[in-house]
């Protein structure tokens, strides 16, 4: 993919990021349960066309960087009863992420 067709990656492995608490209509691939939560960038998967636009047969370009973000289960679920070190890892597109200020 030509450089002009993908947005530059803003985050690096280890960065703390928050999933935006947005609620647009349409087809979204950022699950409800992680919105508003803070996680750690586990890896950059590459840049991919935006599924929110592809869902309307639009090209979804420029491609958005896609990251795997690691969340502590105890952060996601206030009543989490299993292990303190359990995690949930989710693929989140860059446009849903902002740097976390903690």
């Amino acid at each position: 993919m030509r450089a002009a067709e993908s947005v530059p990656a803003r985050f690096r492995v280890g960065d703390r990021v928050r999933v935006r608490r947005a609620d647009p209509p349409g087809h979204l691939r950022t699950p409800w349960y992680c919105r508003g939560h803070v996680g750690t960038i586990e890896r950059l998967c590459g840049a991919f066309a935006n599924p929110e636009e592809l869902a309307y047969n639009r090209p979804g370009l420029p491609a958005q960087p896609l990251y795997r973000v690691r969340f502590k289960a105890t952060d996601l679920w206030p009543d989490y009863r299993e292990h303190a070190r359990d995690v949930v890892e989710i693929e989140v597109f860059q446009h849903w992420l902002e740097r976390a200020v903690e």
């Binding site: 950022t30 349960y33 998967c45 989490y80 299993e82 949930v88």
Partner: protein
């Protein structure tokens, strides 16, 4: 029944036949292509993943390549996976991995074929991210106390397979014998492979 609700029995079967016929009339697909596609998907099953696991257990350089790029590793073994972007996640003595797609049913189909019905169910998709051990227990799986869980939610372009722990008691086994030990459920992470003897 196959999962068709009772008041639509036959309706969607007829819909599929009608749409297929229209697409054939319009020259968009041929009946042979549809059958080839059915056959190709039927030929994909968990044994393809089992071969990758067995090779990784025997060859640490392959394992490293597989953990870095699962699709390239599959192709090394002659497993055609098309556009699949596979991430293989490794179980260790301290970490157990489980795969889900909470939003629909994303699964490494081009490697492993069609996912089981329970993987697409409301119960699994809702609960495994929130109470993974309770869900694993319903599959008859209990993890040792000192093992932590990583749940992977396939929300976008990547697809996942678990590299299970190699069972104890298999020293010197060849790849074919090792591959036969691997179950589909261990590749999804709802089961572990028992140690032998």
């Amino acid at each position: 029944m196959s999962g068709a609700s009772s008041d639509t029995a036959g309706y969607y079967r007829r819909m599929q036949a009608a749409v297929e016929e229209l697409l054939i009339l319009k020259g968009i697909v041929t009946p042979e292509e549809v059958q080839r596609q059915v056959d190709a998907m039927d030929a994909r099953n968990y044994k393809r993943g089992a071969r990758m696991v067995a090779r990784a257990w025997c060859d640490s350089a392959f394992k490293a390549r597989m953990l870095a790029n699962g699709s390239a590793a599959a192709e090394e073994l002659g497993l055609e996976v098309g556009p699949l972007k596979l991430i293989v996640v490794e179980n260790t003595p301290g970490i157990h991995n489980v795969i889900v797609c909470t939003l629909c049913s994303c699964y490494p189909r081009m490697l492993l074929g069609i996912p089981p019905e329970w993987y697409k169910s409301r119960a699994y998709r809702s609960r495994v991210v929130r109470e993974p051990r309770a869900v694993l227990a319903e599959f008859g799986t209990r993890l040792p106390e000192d093992v932590d869980i990583r749940v992977h939610d396939s929300t976008a372009d990547m697809r996942y397979m678990v590299l299970p722990l190699r069972p104890r008691g298999t020293d010197g086994w060849n790849e074919e014998r090792l591959a036969a030990l691997v179950t589909r459920d261990s590749l999804i992470g709802v089961a572990r492979l028992p140690d032998l003897g």
